[in-house]
C-alpha cells in the first residue's frame, strides 16, 4: 500500500468532537510516532483510522479507498491494531490467538487452511513466539503476551499497523525489543502509526512525529523539527534540555524538575 491519508478528520464521543480537522499522510515503510499529552486525542485518532469510530467529518483513505466504503472485514485485511494491553480471561493457547488473525481472510463457511496456518507460523517466528505456541495465553508474562498480540496482528497480513502505546506496561528491555521488531517490519514496507508516551523512544524509532494537543495537530515533521525546547514547553508544559543521542544522532529529551 502506497499511503494512508487522513483528511480533515473531526471525531469524538458523546460530548462533542475531540479531534478537530486532522490532516496527514503516512507513506509506505514509514514509522510515524503519535505524541501528545493525555486526552489529546491519540486513541480517538487510532479509533477513527481503524473504523471503530465514525468521524463526524473528513475521510481516511487506506491506499486509494475511503474507509467509509469498506466493511470491517475489508479494513482488517489491510490494517491491524495492537492495543496497549489485552486482557485475557479465557485460556486460549498462543496458536489459537495468532490464528485468529486470519479471521478477516476467511468467510462464514470456511475455516483456516494450510496457507493460513503457514502464515500464522511465520508471524510467530517473526515475533519469537513459535516456541510458546502450545502455552496458554493467561500464563505468559506481559512481554511475551504483547509479542503474541503482535504475531496475531502480523497474521492478518496487514499493510498498515496501528499501535496504541504498545509498551506502556512493559519493562525497558521489552520496550526496546517490541520497538526493534516493529521497526524491522517497516523495512518490508509496512506503514506504522504508533502512539507513544516516551518521547525518547518516539525520537529513537520514528521517521516523523505528529504532535496532538487538544485534538489538533500542533506539529508534524521529523524528530529534529518537532522535539524542541519551545515545543516541550508549549505541548507538555515542561522545561527540557534537548541534546543529540550520541549514537543514533536523534534528539534526546532531558527533563528538568519544575
Amino acid at each position: 500500500m502506497q499511503k494512508v491519508e487522513v483528511q480533515h478528520i473531526c471525531a469524538g464521543y458523546n460530548l462533542g468532537d475531540v479531534l478537530q480537522d486532522i490532516n496527514f499522510t503516512a507513506r509506505e515503510g514509514e514509522f510515524i510516532g503519535l505524541i501528545g499529552p493525555n486526552g489529546s486525542g491519540k486513541s480517538t485518532l487510532l479509533h477513527v483510522m481503524s473504523k471503530i469510530l465514525n468521524p463526524t467529518c473528513g475521510t481516511v483513505y487506506l491506499g486509494d479507498v475511503e474507509i467509509e466504503s469498506m466493511k470491517l472485514k475489508e479494513v482488517a485485511r489491510v490494517l491491524a491494531v495492537i492495543p496497549q494491553d489485552s486482557p485475557m480471561t479465557f485460556s486460549f493457547t498462543v496458536a489459537d490467538i495468532v490464528i485468529m488473525g486470519r479471521n478477516p481472510h476467511l468467510t462464514l463457511f470456511h475455516s483456516e487452511g494450510k496457507e493460513d496456518i503457514e502464515i500464522a507460523r511465520k508471524a510467530m517466528e517473526a515475533t519469537d513466539t513459535f516456541h510458546l505456541r502450545n502455552r496458554v495465553i493467561t500464563n505468559l508474562s506481559g512481554g511475551e503476551r504483547q509479542r503474541v498480540i503482535i504475531a496475531r496482528a502480523l497474521a492478518q497480513s496487514p499493510k498498515v499497523l496501528l499501535l496504541d502505546e504498545p509498551t506502556a506496561n512493559l519493562d525497558i528491555r521489552h520496550q526496546i525489543e517490541i520497538f526493534d521488531l516493529v521497526k524491522r517490519l517497516t523495512e518490508e514496507g509496512l506503514i506504522v502509526i504508533c502512539a507513544i508516551h516516551d518521547l525518547n523512544l518516539a525520537s529513537l524509532y520514528s521517521d516523523r512525529l505528529i504532535v496532538l494537543k487538544e485534538g489538533r495537530v500542533l506539529a508534524f515533521g521529523n524528530p529534529e523539527e518537532v522535539l524542541t525546547v519551545e515545543n516541550m514547553r508549549e505541548i507538555f508544559g515542561v522545561e527540557a534540555i534537548l541534546q543529540n543521542h550520541p549514537v543514533e544522532n536523534s534528539p534526546f529529551v532531558i527533563l528538568m524538575r519544575s
Binding site: I52, K71, T89
Partner: protein, 333 residues
Amino acid sequence: MKGFRLPSLLLILLITALVSIALGSVRINVITIMRVLFDTHYHNAAQEAIILKIRLPRVLLAMMVGGCLATSGCIMQGLFRNPMADPFILGVSSGAGVGAAVAIVSGLAFASIYFVPLLAFFFSTTTIFAVYTIARTNGTMSVETLLLSGIAMSTFLSAVLSFLIYISEKWLHSLYFWLMGGFGTASWTYVFLLLPFTGCGIMVSLLFSRDLNAILLGEETAQHLGVEVDAVKKILVVVTSLMTGAAVSVSGIIGFVGLVVPHMVRIIVGPDHRVLLPSSAIFGGIFMIWADNVARTIISPSELPVGVVTAFFGAPFFIYLLRRKRGDMFAKG
C-alpha cells in the same frame, strides 16, 4: 481433538438414549428396543406403546432441551465474556414463568394443553424483545446495559410471578411443578415443535463460533479482526432467545444445565467455540437425559421435577471437575 471427541460424544449420546428407553417401571432390553424401532416384522403392542408413545419422545425431548439450554448458555457466556452467564440471564425464564402462570391461573391451561407452552413462549420472547429495546441506545447496545436491563426485567417479572403464585391457590401444585421443570408431559407434538428451534438454533450458532472466539478477546479487538460485533450480538441474542424460549415452554424452567454444561465441556475441550459449541450441545443432551432418568425412576411411580436432579447431581460433579483441573495444572508445573 476435534475429530476424535465429537464422534465419541455422539456415540455416548446414542448409547444414553437406548439405555434410557430401556429404563423404567417396565424394563425392556436394548435388543427388543432395536427390534421395535427397526424390525418391521416384529410386533408387540404393549412394548410399542411404551417405547414409541412414551419413552422415545421423552428421551428425544430431554435431549433437545438439554442441547438448546447448553448451547444458549455457552453463547451467553461468550457474548458476555462472563462464565457466570446462563441462558436465563436476559429474563427468558421469568417471562416463560409468567406466561405459564397466566395460562394456569386463568384456566386456559385446562382448555387445551398447548396454552401453557404457547403463552410461555410468547411471554419469554416478548421479554427478550423488551430487554433488547431497553438496552439499545443510538443503534448500539453494550453488553453491560443488556445485562442490567435483563436483570431489571427479570426482577420485575419475578414480582409478577410471585403475585400469580400467591393467587393461584388450587393450581399451586401444577404451577409449581411446571416452574421446576420436567418432561412428564412429553409427546411427539412437543418433539416436533422443538425440533426446528434446536436444529436451526445450533446450526446458526455454529456459523458464528469463530466470531464468538474473537469476541472473547474483547469487542474492540473483535472489530479489529473484522467481526461486525453489533450484528453478531443481535443475531445471537435472537437465536438463543428463540432456542431457550422454545425449550422452556415445553419443559419448564430447568436450571443449572445451561450454566454448568458449557463449563464442564470447556474444562475438557478448551475455549474454542468451534469445538465447544457442538460438544456442549451434545453433552447437554446426554446430561439432561440422565437427569430425567433419575427424575422419573428414583421415586417411581411418582416423579421428581428434573430441575431438582440437575442441580443436585450437577453441582457436586462440577465442583469435582474444578478441583481435578486445579490438581492437573499443578502436576504439569
